[in-house]
């Protein structure tokens, strides 16, 4: 717990870090659409290329990116196996008398699915998690969804709740750790004994944690009221988001990438996703 920075934002100064968070949300959505548009070997090759470009642009260490893939390793292996053994095609690779039949189409399908899932994770990770702080992300979502205010959806209030929650996650993590340490110093042990005993051992942590969380919540509410916070109406912002030319260029590039993929799929060369 101690060594994980919340939200996994990786501080760096890269073109992607500097980009407007709204543009990044749009780019992430477009990128996801692109990964689903890819249908044949050439377009998947382009997808891999685009992923590499993103990695380079983000200035993230490769180690971090590989680590972000670890949780989906199981899904990758699972889909590959399913695809390899379940796809029926024309080019049988195994001897005809084997009971297990593997087709070339199956292998290609497996490869394509793995690439698609990886690109999906990589793209959302790079655009939304690693280069954008959670706070900036909420801000961006609020602005992008603000048209919904017209139909009386309290977008601002949801965004504010989200921001506050995100703001306090590291604080509460730190506090939990402090309380655990304090109770451990009095001989509490959280990792031994029966399940019931372990659940009981949480009481000395949860009670102080809730008490302080409530106190913090009351304090924060008072502090916000003291500064005349009264919701969205007429509120101005400290950090006003501005689209820049580069954001527009990036979105246009991504759009053309999508269109390119769309046409590449029509080329009848190479293996297809079946």
């Amino acid at each position: 717990m101690k060594n994980v920075a919340f939200g996994q934002y990786y501080p760096a100064d890269s073109p992607l870090h500097r980009m407007d968070p709204r543009a990044k949300v749009i780019l992430a959505i477009l990128y996801i659409v692109c990964t689903f548009l890819c249908k044949n070997a050439i377009s998947f090759a382009c997808l891999v290329l685009s992923a590499l470009v993103l990695v380079v642009l983000s200035h993230l260490p490769l180690r971090l990116i590989l680590r972000s893939m670890r949780p989906i390793l199981f899904i990758i292996v699972f889909t590959s196996v399913i695809n390899i053994f379940m796809t029926k095609g024309e080019h049988l690779l195994t001897p005809a008398d084997w009971r297990i039949k593997i087709y070339a189409e199956g292998l290609w399908n497996a490869l394509f699915m793995v690439l698609r899932i990886s690109a999906l994770i990589l793209g959302t990770g790079i655009f939304l998690t690693y280069t954008t702080t959670p706070i900036a992300l909420t801000d961006a979502l609020e602005r992008l969804l603000s048209p919904l205010k017209k139909i009386k959806i309290p977008v601002h209030d949801f965004a504010m709740m989200m921001t506050i929650a995100l703001r306090f996650i590291p604080t509460l993590t730190e506090e939990t750790e402090k309380i655990m340490n304090a109770q451990r110093a009095r001989g509490a042990s959280f990792s031994t004994g029966s399940l019931i005993n372990r659940a009981k051992a949480l009481i000395p942590i949860l009670i102080p944690l809730f008490v302080s969380a409530f106190n913090r919540a009351f304090d924060l509410a008072s502090a916000m009221e003291c500064r005349c916070y009264h919701g969205d109406e007429g509120r101005t912002r400290l950090k006003v988001l501005h689209y820049r030319a580069s954001d527009l260029v990036a979105v246009l590039l991504m759009l053309s990438f999508g269109v390119g993929v769309f046409f590449l799929n029509r080329l009848g060369i190479g293996p297809h996703l079946s």
Partner: protein, 313 residues
Amino acid sequence: MDKIRLENVSYVYNRGLPFEQVALDNVSLSIRAGCVTGIIGHTGSGKSTMMQLLNGLAEPTSGRVFLDGYDINAKAEDLYEEWSALPEYAHLSKGARKKAIRREVARRRAELCFRVGLVMQYPEYQLFEETVEKDIAFGPRNMKLSEEEIGLRVREAARFAGLDEELLQKSPFDLSGGQKRRVALAGVIAMRPEVLVLDEPAAGLDPAGRTRILDGILRYQRTTGSTVLIVSHSMEDMARYCDDVVVMGDARVLMQGERREIFSHTQELTDAGLDIPQITHLVRLLRERGVPLPENIYTVEDAVLAVQALFAE
């Protein structure tokens, strides 16, 4: 005899991440048994981090921490060679010996937090029970003591911490900040630790509250002969309560030694962003002007006595 010894201890937070932070940098230190040692240093100098290494809450990134000459983070495998020769293990077969050593290391590890009682910085937040009495009993209960013994210790600890008998039945959440602090202190004293480590026990209290809590700690030390470590920012408190002083700065130990010796290094203390006690400073200025006062005066009371003696002559 050294009660606690630190050997080339380093501690790094968030190792390998861009916000890596070296909190302790190759620190070596020894703490005399049965003394009150004060730890001072500017904010962020690594005092709290060091305190958490002493009772095994955190393990040093490198280096070793000894309590009574025993490396508290020792692994059973590393001790196997050395302990095999001991009479209690020598007669055992190899497998049984390994097991016995492993059990002994685990026992020492579990017992560590009872032997070295740590009162964390701002300990008010750790209270959770329905009554003060139950909260103080949390530590002794974890030691699996009898109910009778627990009751005894709770009352004794409450006395040391300066808590009135009638407070014991109140909810800890209804107390004032200073009272909560004393409950937390009592919760640790109730374990009767041989080493009592206090991270800024008096921070944020009024002068009366400070004296009350620090006097209680001193009383515990005198009664039980235990070793006490007090982290503090206040030179006045150091001067009044400590036998030895350790000065920290930027993750290192700058000076350690007896109080008199440390306070004579005025310049070094000032460089470390600290100060000598005001009364010591005053006496020094008076001496420079030819008033024949003794040099080693650290508390106002001593100064009063010295001045009275001077007038009596």
